[in-house]
Subunit: 660 residues, 3 copies
């Protein structure tokens, strides 16, 4: 069986002549691949008529791949029901907020809560489990494909069928107990919205300007529906296989990644970042790594050279980019990188997407680069297997629930939670070589010395509030704000203070708060004399036990504190009242004694690894510029065999695996 790191692609033998598989396998071996992902959309080929199964073609594919040393990952096909299914059982189809059911011809268009659909899914998944659960060539399973609420644009996404409507009313009843409690929690006296029964609460549509708390609850319901849809299949597969089961997720926030993985065995993740956004990919990898921290994640989809559907999107990638893009997940804690797709589709919705070989079976122009990556994976295989990514002890907190809330309640003008965390918090830390983890409210905090918690509207997710206090008192440094702890669990503001707990924790009184823009205000740090501009939001604090770190020097908050620090137990709370520029965040961390793990320039990810007897680091250049990089590393690059001591030359999109 193949050894990690896995290099592979999505393979759709059902769309090609059966005899072509041998030529495909020969090319896969030439490309150096050791894993293929199959069957995710092949329901109509596996069950062409209800209850009539045809697995011969798939056995043949898995067997032939296995004989060539190539493992298979099998996908359950629930994203694409056959035409006979949706024709005979139209109630399984997704219903839009306008009451419309999409017809056949697309994907991911069924209701996640439909008991009828789940029964059909159970049948095909059970059958696949029976057929392939014990097959040693099947090294893993993928449930469905990119599950995510679909349909209308936000805020009206997710299925609105009668089943979902009833389930939503049940959820509200379970959560609030009485409709009076709901009316109070959402202040439904406002606009005479108060309901007389849970059944009266509408599922959101695009016509009505809805209460953000309703929209948020609906989004949580949608997320939970898909989590449960995945879990339903996972339980079936776990009865038939020992191979790890996952579901390939996207860098979208409609489904809670943490919740979706609770009953799964490993994290599967798809991304289509390009030459300008590898730092975004790094954010998501830093996040995916921690969802199941003891198991390396799989990067189940990425591109080789270009995206496309009925037209190419974004053009061809520069030389070396495929290398950096393929090593980045490995550097950041993954053990697999699979391209979408092996051979370009010869027709259909996505026929212009790039691949490894063309529709007519000719290697594409980056084929040689793929082969080089495969060679590198093999050369570093032992080192990677015997070491693990070293955590810096610095975490940036990210919550997809907050991201969902942010869509209905941006609070600040134009505020995009995910984009701001990625570009304004994680990216500066990435580029300054802090090597941050991305943690969630569910993460075990005990391994962290420092947490940066920006924009976390509510601190009650997974009992975080109490855990944070305990963690600070035990010595943690909490850098929190702006816009954290500003809403209760129903999206309502606190009425005793602008924050739930932060005035108390931080020892401040919030005199005034003003929104950011159109003119941004300046603040100056009391120690060191730096002057920066705060953006997005501006709180002006009076210190009541806290030490002032920075004062506002212009605008309506002049003279009030923009940032404060207070010791709490063995730890401390740093409260930020505004969004700082990159240098400002760096300055705060240094004030707290946090230091980067390297002095490298901004364009290189340096991920240290340590095992029982080996250590070193993986380096990936993200921007295609290259240069020489200074790091506290001396050792041999396992890819080139060259030895380096602190000065490490990197070609554009270069990769080094240096063992010390």
């Amino acid at each position: 069986m193949p050894r990690p790191p896995y290099l592979g692609a999505a393979y759709y033998p059902e769309d090609w002549p059966r005899e072509q598989i041998d030529a495909d396998i020969a090319l896969m071996l030439e490309a150096g691949m050791n894993v293929m992902r199959l069957a995710e959309f092949a329901w109509s080929t596996m069950e062409p008529r209800q209850g009539q199964f045809e697995f011969g073609w798939l056995h043949e594919a898995v067997d032939k791949l296995g004989a060539a040393g190539i493992g298979s990952i099998l996908g359950t096909p629930s994203a694409t029901p056959p035409a006979w299914l949706t024709e005979r059982y139209p109630e399984v189809l997704f219903v839009t907020d306008e009451g419309r059911r999409p017809g056949h011809g697309s994907r991911c268009h069924c209701c996640p809560n439909s008991p009828v659909y789940r029964d059909h899914c159970a049948r095909i998944v059970t059958k696949m489990g029976e057929e392939f659960g014990a097959d040693p060539n099947v090294i893993g399973w993928q449930i469905d494909n990119e599950v995510h609420p679909m349909g209308a644009p936000w805020p009206a996404r997710s299925c609105c069928c009668p089943v979902c409507r009833a389930r939503f009313a049940e959820r509200l009843a379970a959560r609030f107990g009485t409709v009076e409690a709901l009316n109070q929690a959402w202040c439904l006296s406002l606009w005479s919205q108060a309901y007389d029964s849970f059944e009266q609460v509408p599922v959101p549509n695009r016509v009505v300007w809805h209460h953000p708390s309703l929209l948020a609850e609906w989004a949580e319901f949608a997320s939970d529906s898909y989590v449960d849809f995945v879990a339903h299949q996972a339980h079936i597969l776990h009865r038939h296989t020992k191979a790890p089961v996952g579901t390939d997720m996207m860098p979208l926030i409609g489904v809670d990644h943490v919740a979706a993985n609770r009953v799964l065995d490993l994290v599967q993740y798809n991304h289509y970042n390009d030459e300008r956004t590898l730092h975004v990919a790094a954010f998501w990898f830093d996040y995916m790594r921690g969802i199941k921290p003891t198991v390396p994640f799989w990067n189940t989809e990425t591109q080789t050279g270009w995206n496309g559907s009925v037209a190419v999107n974004g053009g061809n990638k520069p030389p070396g980019w495929c290398r950096a893009n393929s090593w980045l997940p490995i550097a950041l804690g993954g053990e697999a990188n699979l391209y979408w797709l092996w051979r370009q589709h010869w027709t259909g919705h996505e026929q212009m997407h790039g691949a490894v070989v063309s529709s007519c079976g000719r290697p594409l122009s980056m084929f040689a680069e793929v082969r080089e990556i495969a060679d590198g994976y093999r050369a570093a295989s032992d080192f990677l297997a015997e070491t693990e990514v070293v955590s810096s002890g610095l975490g940036v907190m990210f919550s997809t629930r907050t991201a969902r809330w942010n869509q209905y309640l941006p609070i600040a003008a134009g505020f995009d939670y995910v984009g701001t965390i990625v570009e304004r918090i994680h990216r500066p830390l990435l580029e300054a070589q802090y090597r941050p983890d991305v943690v969630t409210p569910s993460t075990d905090l005990s391994g962290y010395q420092t947490l940066v918690v920006p924009f976390l509207y509510n601190l009650d997710e997974d009992g975080l509030r109490a855990r944070l206090v305990a963690w600070v008192e035990a010595g943690g440094t909490l850098v929190i704000g702006p816009l954290s702890d500003v809403r209760d669990a129903n999206l309502g503001k606190y009425r005793h203070a602008p924050f739930g707990s932060l005035e108390e924790w931080a020892g401040v009184y919030t005199k005034f708060s003003v929104p950011g823009g159109p003119v941004e205000h300046e603040l100056s740090w009391l120690s060191g004399g730096q002057e920066w501009t705060g953006s997005l939001w501006a709180d002006g604090f009076e210190a009541r036990g806290a030490e002032e770190l920075a004062l506002w020097s212009s605008g309506p908050l002049r003279g009030l504190a923009a940032a404060t620090m207070r010791s709490v137990g063995s730890g401390r709370v740093v409260l930020l009242g505004t969004l700082l520029p990159a240098q400002g965040l760096d300055w705060v961390l240094r004030q707290c004694g946090v230091a980067p793990v390297a002095t490298a320039g901004p364009r290189v990810v340096l991920a240290q690894r340590r095992g029982e007897s080996r250590q070193g680091a993986v380096l990936v250049e993200l921007e295609g510029v290259g240069g020489t990089f200074t790091a506290p590393l001396a050792g041999v690059d396992l890819l080139s065999g060259d030895r380096f001591d602190q000065q490490i030359p990197m070609e554009p999109f270069g990769v080094r695996v240096i063992e010390q």
Copy 2:
């Protein structure tokens, strides 16, 4: 009871703990407020179940406010029916052009013509009248909230329910008598549109490219429906109260402001202009002042510092802006300025809107400015009460019917009637200190020496044509055009000439007309030698009894007149064939002997006031720049106590109330 000017805000005690009212009142007094607006959305709190009323909470609020010297304005809650109402009587809900009824959770979503809805409204309004009609603390009433056709985007707005469809057919029958008359009036042989019956005439929808005359008629029907909806409640309230009854209107043109106020007692107006658009607010105030010229209007809504719904819009305002924004309605003839809202909502659709105090009861950063405004209102109270705004005798004619027509028949490329009147006609006159009134086709013209009548497609509104002629013959100076008198009352062109009467009135023959753009043509004035560029539209006239004022000097109209003047009776008609730049309009007025009322710079509104024994002026700086301002005024600023003589220094967004 409080004395004007009123300073206040919208107050929603139903959304807060009952015991909080005392703290709120204490803060209101600290802010210097003397009026609160209540109950406009509180139907579900006042009538939680059909026919079961709870007014105790509202009596308590009105009483406690009254005890503190704060008057109450009560709103009828018909914008927000309770859930039990729309669930039990779904026929009251608005129907979109696609046949869809919005669900619960928004506002202004009921049919204005629904007899069932009107009965429900009558019940709650009657009950409120019985409870509060004689309450001395209730100083006024507001009907509904911002009534306006809603639903689909233009042109398909307004309710399309069966009741409205039947009423529309009845309206057509009443207006045209026979369907043949309708077919002829709209030339429905064209495209074989001719109808066989009034019932066959569709209400507009977004799918069909409709005849503009149909769209216009539908818009008039919608406007009239809302006018009637408001009148229905006004009649009820008038049976129970002596306090003035109004309806708070927006700077939108879907409902005719003049018609809406015919049976009301005073004009109520809401606006959300910002630091770049106080001149737009001035236009609307100059218009609102004249709708009921003997009664000062109320500015029932404006912002303190920022707008917002689920996010802040537009950011915080600069220092002093709240002052200028709060004094501008007073300067221009109002007697009340109310902020929306008193205390920021703690949740819901508009939780990020600014206010006077925060959700947790802390004064916001402009609180001190509000207090200063309150002090100023008090200091100027007697002077304002004993004087009235002096009219300049110059009117700019504005018609919301024309504005509605303009949406379906822009005539010139991209022509926006309201924006062009505001920015290209009123603003130049405002900045040149002409201090114009904004009049309507219904206005009594006898008080005016000069009227500027641009873009008034049709002269038959409220019998204007005959009244204009009589007014000119009696000595008035009519400056008319371009694009005035170019359509009959059904939006058809005249077939005998390009104008209904203007060739005859002005003594010209229109040789050629060409649309403005893409190249603009030049014209030169025969007297004075100025050269300007005409835009939007270009008529070329031959004088037939008129004096040529300006000739086209380039383009296809070269040599023809662009503007003419002719004496008519004791007055004269100045005909403009194009849209002039600001200096051109100024030149025309000076040719007609019209002069500015002051020589101040463009940024200050100077509104003269005169009473039996007192006189002076209110000055407001609109752009936040400040400076020293020259005006024929000598006297004492009642706000600062300082004395000035013609040279008046103004701080940014400064205000003076100078008594001579």
Copy 3:
């Protein structure tokens, strides 16, 4: 009866008082017009109640026009059914993909396949044929008006009524025989799309992301439906008249122009190009000329001075533009130019469109220019009648089927087939004076020496593949690519090679293909040393029998051929792997021995004419710049009487008709 060239306009006497016609005719004669187009939307006037016909008004108009020497073209009114028809037979109305039927008040809103609608159309068309078929004053017929799939935005256009759905299933059955064959042709194993029956195949809607092959088939069905709708009326008219029958078509690609004209007698074409796009008009005229090569086409609609609906669009045109615009169709093979419209509508949807005279019957500002055009037509009438346009022997191939496919399958990022052919292929050839014909896959190729065939996805339309081979072998020079021959007749890729036949024809092996952008790559020509940048797409060829014309000099294809040439029989195949800049295309043609027909600058169309005893050329300046133009022409300008020898001065938008 009038002689060509015809100069005329659309005339709607049904919308005006009956007695006005004499004044209109007097003005028409003053303008020099000799043809009017009538009745196209007048169904409700001709048949005000079902089966009750009124043709008196139309006879009177045709007779009076005829008496004045003005011929009539009659339109069948099927674009605008009367209200009684759509009310009594609502099933005739178009159904959108959302299942909605538009109401009355628009045009072109009926189902082309509705048997009920066709019966009604047959009745009115038959009646018109009986009344006017033998009328000598009727010089031609127009069927419907601008037939084209309407309704939703692409890709979901065209009627989705039950009749259309059934016909579409029948079409699929006829085309594929078995549903298994359909499933295979479109590879419907992909995403489990495979159908169990033809009835299961949905008509496309906007909600579902559809397979591009389905969308393309649906678009062909729509095109064929309209072609058949037109043919149905043509057969009726042909039974009643000897006058030529056509249908006025637009520069849109929803209906195949070639197919639509198969049973018609002459090509009718409407366009609204403006001062910046006369070169676009030239493309379409070069195309229209060849659809029925033995009969001059009629330009049935164009503007005099400005477009407009409820507002003017685009403004007034510069002096002379109307002249160039009116002569261009004559220069390029037409014999008629009609303005839309004679007299501006006095109301309705299009009341702001320009015309020849205004709504009140006054000549518009370009009236004198129209008169000058009429005089010119008369002066050149004999010469034009006795000569024909001379073909250069160079054809650019254009296919509306490819244009329809391109909408669902752009292949390259942002690739617009029509725009690219017009701007990047035809325009350079136009400006370099190659005087190209625009040919189609159906064109008889025997008259051509050289064909440029870019972006023709599939070569199987009308048996082109075999005909092309034969034509090359017989001596033709085929300049083909990029993106030609890259899809089979079902929009699938070939699986044996990137091309169906081109590798074989051209003698190459395609090593790599990469999409164009974001960085464009350079190529250099082996002969001559020019360096250009290829765009849109990049194929890299290895020569296997071909001569390399150009090699890629940068990027992933460096060293591979970008263009090749190979002799085939007496002809040759030049294969282009990328979109060349204008100079590159010129260089290729010169390498092939193709030369421009004149050395004139880029702004003049020079169309040579030759007859039995006369020859010369028509010259039209397209850009309003003017200048002196060098051409191998010596003779007399029939318009001015001036004689020229090779140096021909042209005023802006000037026209010359030079007889040698």
